[in-house]
């Protein structure tokens, strides 16, 4: 009985694992061959399920399901190929970072299109009746559908393996995923295969969507819910390795399922104490991922070494700008004065809500600035930066609840705890570089996200409530909510006070960062961004500088999180609001959007992002579609971000003036790209 039970659980694990295999195979080969971190893979997966809903409807489950499982992946594959042709292709040779911005935009667009066409109601994907009944073999009882999923996905995996290993195209692709340069050197145009790889990857994801849709249900959040586990699988198995994707998928599926099934079960009893399996579901896979990355950064089956320096170029925003430094300083001054006067305008409009939006912008401006220190200067791309924002917010809330309400103590606490966290995470993560660093920080962030659900002191899924900040120290000062004063007959409340506090902190944070970048420490960071190897051989301990930058950045992100908790607009600090991975993606997108490596670019990015969101959402429900499209256009045409627009315009004008017939064919914004 125990054995049968275990086998049933194993079958459940394999069922889930096979879905991961289908998802990860495409994701992994796409990364291996093209260096594209494809966040939209999850939405292509969802698209497969939604298309099959529409295909099954007229035919009924009996035949419709089989038609759908053939037709829908083909359709999604074609969509994938079209996406590669139109949006991904122009970006090859750039740092994988730009694919994050691009595919993040694609996620917003595809998800909104799904909502528009199919609605938000969750739907059942009808499966032929003979597949959805239980079957008992040797006392092991699971659904026929489990066996179907395992066998069908295994067949597809074998076919894919055959194509990769036994056909000419496949061997080229496989060689390309291990060493692209070598393939180019033997005279094969590997770029020609990208569309094929992207299309097939999308089709495999679509199959996974249909198969899993039939097992669970079809809903708009399904893409988002699989993308992170899929990344874990890919990293565990080794980026670019098909074998790794298969092994990683099955491993994650089985480990997740067994942890779930046996958590809380008793291992042994000693007198009064019982030893039980701890409830670590959710944490396990991330712990596994961190462990593997630390021991074998290239993953269990990865053959690629760490990518060489200078594989792609990070385009910083301020470089080659047309505005003189003095003009920039003046513009910055004007911006600060305008922000300082904004509340007065808001007062006359009589609408304090704009202050809430401005507060959000300021908090995110600090958060994005903190990211720029590591991303734009030290060349580190953390995909888990929201862990500091979240931990800062939680720390601040906990300090207010249990220790002190003083704003200064609270913010200092948030900074210190996050700096310590950043030191620990940095010490472990900085030894791996590039995309592995991105993934290991993602794993840490997810670990913390899962952890806050488990503890009572963090308030579990509800989060923390009932805290209040006090503007002052000790007994000198005033509760934020008690602050109200009159000015010109208007009543000014806590929102105003907080706004000026946030503005002051944002300006100070910027000045601090700017000062630092003009001091010896910051100058070394910039040299690391330019050439890590060179920096090391003029005598700098590169890892130590990176780690210190990470600590400073983490502390500053913690400050942003602390401000979120202190803000009078915030009555609750909950996990999704602060620690969900999506915020790590958002802050990267905001920094890129504004212009990396400039410090002020990301801050402007925050203003434009939230401003646009606020503005668009008041006119249309499809604002995500518009913002997503905006990201895609930006990454294609304005890769250095908003701050590069003046120099782009200047170049265009110059080109127009000189264009007596000889049109400059080089896009000016990608000139240093190849």
């Amino acid at each position: 009985m125990v054995a049968a039970d275990f086998i049933e659980q194993l079958l459940n694990g394999l069922t889930l694992g096979m879905v991961y295999v289908l998802l990860a195979a495409g994701l992994s080969v796409i990364f291996g061959v093209m260096d594209v971190i494809n966040f939209s893979h999850g939405e292509l997966f969802a698209l497969g399920a939604y298309f099959s809903l529409s295909i099954i409807a007229p035919f009924g489950a009996g035949t419709g399901f089989w038609i759908a499982i053939v037709v829908a992946p083909v359709v999604v594959g074609l969509i994938g190929a079209a996406i590669e042709r139109t949006t991904v292709r122009p970006l090859y040779g750039r740092d994988p970072l730009y694919h994050i911005l691009l595919t993040f935009g694609l996620v917003l667009v595809i998800n909104d299109v799904i909502r528009l066409i199919w609605g938000t109601q969750q739907r059942q994907l009808a499966v032929p009746e003979y597949l959805s009944r239980p079957v008992s073999i040797l006392g092991v009882q699971v659904s026929v559908y489990n066996y179907f999923m395992i066998v069908f996905a295994a067949l597809l995996a074998v076919v894919t393996w055959y194509l990769l290993n036994r056909t000419k195209y496949g061997m080229i692709i496989r060689a390309g995923s291990q060493d692209r340069e070598m393939v180019r050197n033997v005279g094969i145009d590997i770029d020609q295969y990208y569309t094929l790889v992207f299309g097939v990857g999308a089709a495999l994801a679509a199959v996974a969507g249909i198969v899993l849709g039939g097992y669970q249900n079809v809903n708009t959040g399904m893409g988002n819910s699989v993308i992170i586990p899929a990344f874990v699988v890919v990293v565990l198995g080794g980026l670019g390795s098909f074998r790794g994707a298969v092994f990683g998928g099955l491993l994650v599926g089985v480990v997740q399922t067994l942890m779930r099934a046996y958590s809380g079960s008793v291992l042994a009893t000693f007198g009064d104490t019982t030893l039980t399996v701890p409830n670590l579901e959710g944490l396990t896979v991330y712990l596994l991922m961190i462990a593997v990355l630390l021991v074998k950064p290239q993953g269990l089956f990865g053959t690629r070494g760490e990518e060489s320096d200078g594989e792609g170029e990070i385009l910083v925003g301020g470089y080659g700008g047309v505005l003189a430094d003095s003009t920039r300083v003046r513009l910055g001054g004007i911006a600060v004065v305008a922000l300082a006067l904004a509340p007065i305008a808001i007062l006359f409009m009589g609408d304090q809500y704009y202050l809430v939006v401005l507060n959000e912008i300021l908090i995110w401006a600090i958060f994005a600035l903190s990211l720029d220190i590591v991303m734009g200067y030290a060349g580190l791309v953390p995909l888990g930066h929201t862990m500091f924002y979240g931990v800062g917010a939680y720390t601040a809330a906990l300090v207010m609840l249990h220790y002190s309400q003083s704003v200064f103590v609270v913010l200092l606490g948030a900074i210190l705890i996050c700096a310590v966290l950043a030191w620990v995470v940095g010490s472990l993560s900085i030894r791996v570089s590039g995309v592995y660093f991105a993934m290991i920080t993602l794993a840490f962030a997810e670990l913390l996200y899962s952890a806050v659900f488990k503890f009572d002191f963090t308030g579990g899924s509800d989060g923390l409530l009932g805290f209040e900040a006090f503007l002052g120290l000790g007994t000198v000062g005033e509760s934020l909510s008690n602050i109200e004063f009159g000015l010109l007959g208007y009543e000014l409340g806590q929102q105003f006070v907080f706004y000026y506090l946030a503005l002051l902190i944002a300006v100070l944070s910027f000045l601090f960062a700017r000062r630092m970048m003009n001091a010896p420490f910051g100058s070394v960071l910039q040299s690391i961004r330019e050439s890590e190897e060179r920096a090391e051989f003029i005598g700098y301990d590169v890892n130590r500088y990176k780690r210190r930058a990470f600590v400073i950045s983490g502390g500053m992100a913690g400050l942003a999180g602390g401000l979120l908790a202190v803000s009078p607009s915030t009555v609750i600090i909950s996990p999704d609001q602060t620690l969900n991975w999506i915020h790590s993606g958002e802050v990267i997108v905001i920094a890129l959007f504004g212009g990396m490596g400039t410090l002020y670019g990301p801050m402007i990015g925050s203003g434009v992002f939230f401003g646009a969101e606020e503005f668009l959402s008041s006119y249309t429900d499809q604002w995500r579609l518009i913002i997503g499209t905006m990201f895609i256009l930006f990454v294609l045409f304005v890769p250095r971000g908003i701050v590069s627009i003046p120099s782009l315009v200047a170049q265009r004008l110059e080109t127009a003036n000189n264009a007596d017939g000889a049109v400059d064919m080089d896009e000016p914004e990608v000139r240093s790209d190849d």
Binding site: Y354, D576, R624
Partner: protein
């Protein structure tokens, strides 16, 4: 999927777009904290009410129901001469995420000037809005069912027409243990709602029968998608009944997989929200044979339910579900409170609502003075083969409102 954002639904005629509203507010010269009076239309006083619903995120299949119910109520109130004011409905998307919900709440209250707010489903969001209501002193009708909303986190500005988990637990616990089997397995999602179902139902079952045995418990994470391992575990136990502390997509996935793996034929599967329209839509025939608590059913003859069902069906081409019912009557209760108070000031309305008895689609209910919870009756139901794609609800037994609700002090409310 950004989560800090906002997405007001501007597609419905009775909504005024935000920009128009600002223009109106500006025109009549509203200064300071915007819009205690709101913009005025015609001769009647216009009162801004807000409906904040999860239109995206994990509960996006439930939010639209809330929204539609609220919209119908607003339309009826505006066409009804019994009310000498007009409702101006503004909407927002809570995204099932406290940050987005807070910023939406501030928008509707501070920018749109709403002082009567309805909405939210998840407990975290509702608790956040609870707190905000107390802070800015406006009326709030939460849509969530978690006990603490009118329990330990209750406050004088919060009134709940939604039936809470404690009430549903009363309805399903006694029936399950007495009629479906004594050996009960509990499977619940590891978050506030799941914990609360487990605590309530297990305690009630213990009181209801001496033969009750808790065979085992298992927990999954909120948003988990694969329940095969739990179902295997439960199926291999001695349980006659499995009680599910989960809702939304979690419950749909569990039910589908339970049917596939034969658990539904083997034992009674009971879920407090099993009868929800969205759950039935997501499970199809897989939910046939399961049991659920019912907070509402369109077939009810209570109160003015049939008029509501008719109006709703003619407007939307389908029957209302529980969330539409909550949206509809939460808005109507605001209006009835205003009539009772003879004022549209939140403070006056609050005093009128507190302890008041009103006619709703569930008959006459009282918003208890002690915790502002509506004394709704509840039902236990079985899901049976239906005419359409999804299963039908067959009500088995009613528990009257007076018996479902434990004293406020038991639920942790001190007001």
């Amino acid at each position: 999927m950004s989560s800090e954002g906002t997405s007001p639904d501007s597609s419905v005629g009775i909504d005024r777009s935000r920009r128009q509203f600002i223009a109106a507010a500006g025109a009549v010269g509203v200064l300071g904290l915007a819009g205690c009076q709101g913009g005025s239309t015609g001769g009647e006083e216009a009162v801004t009410v807000a409906s904040l619903n999860p239109m995206t995120g994990p509960y996006s299949s439930l939010g639209p129901g809330q929204r539609t119910g609220a919209e119908l109520a607003v339309a009826e109130i505006n066409n009804n001469d019994d009310y000498d004011f007009e409702f101006e409905l503004v909407t927002g998307d809570t995204e099932t995420e406290a940050g987005a919900a807070q910023s939406e709440a501030q928008r509707v209250v501070q920018e749109e000037g709403a002082e009567f707010v309805f909405g939210a489903i998840s407990s975290s969001v509702a608790l956040g809005l609870n707190d905000f209501a107390a802070q800015s002193e406006h009326i709030y009708f939460p849509g969530g069912a978690a006990v603490p909303i009118t329990g330990s986190a209750c406050n004088e500005w919060v009134f709940r027409f939604e039936t809470n988990t404690a009430q549903i637990a009363e309805a399903i616990s006694a029936y399950s243990v007495n009629n479906l089997g004594n050996n009960v397995w509990f499977h619940y999602a590891d978050y506030a709602y799941g914990d609360s179902v487990y605590n309530r139902t297990s305690r009630r079952m213990e009181n209801a029968s001496d033969d009750y045995t808790e065979v085992g418990t298992s927990t999954s994470e909120l948003g988990a998608s694969n329940y095969g391992s739990f179902i295997t575990q439960i199926s291999n136990s001695e349980a006659d009944v499995v009680m599910l502390g989960m809702t939304g997509g979690d419950l749909v996935n569990f039910t589908n997989q339970a049917a596939d793996q034969g658990l539904t034929n083997q034992m009674a599967v009971v879920g407090p929200t099993q009868t929800f329209q969205s759950v039935r839509a997501g499970t199809g025939s897989n939910s046939v044979g399961t049991f659920g608590g019912a907070r509402y059913d369109p077939s009810l003859e209570t109160g003015d339910n049939q008029a509501f069902v008719e109006a709703y069906a003619s407007e939307n081409d389908r029957e209302p579900g529980n969330f539409a019912r909550v949206g509809y009557d939460s808005i109507r209760l605001m209006a009835k409170g205003m009539n009772e108070a003879g004022s549209t000031e939140p403070g006056d309305v609050r005093d009128a609502l507190e302890g008041g008895t009103f006619t709703t689609v569930l008959g006459d209910i009282t918003l208890r003075e002690s915790d502002h919870q509506a004394t709704n009756p509840t039902w236990i139901a079985e899901l049976v083969e239906g005419g359409s794609d999804s299963a039908d609800v067959e009500l088995l037994e009613q528990v009257p409102g007076s018996e479902t609700l434990p004293p406020a002090s038991d639920l942790g409310c001190e007001m």
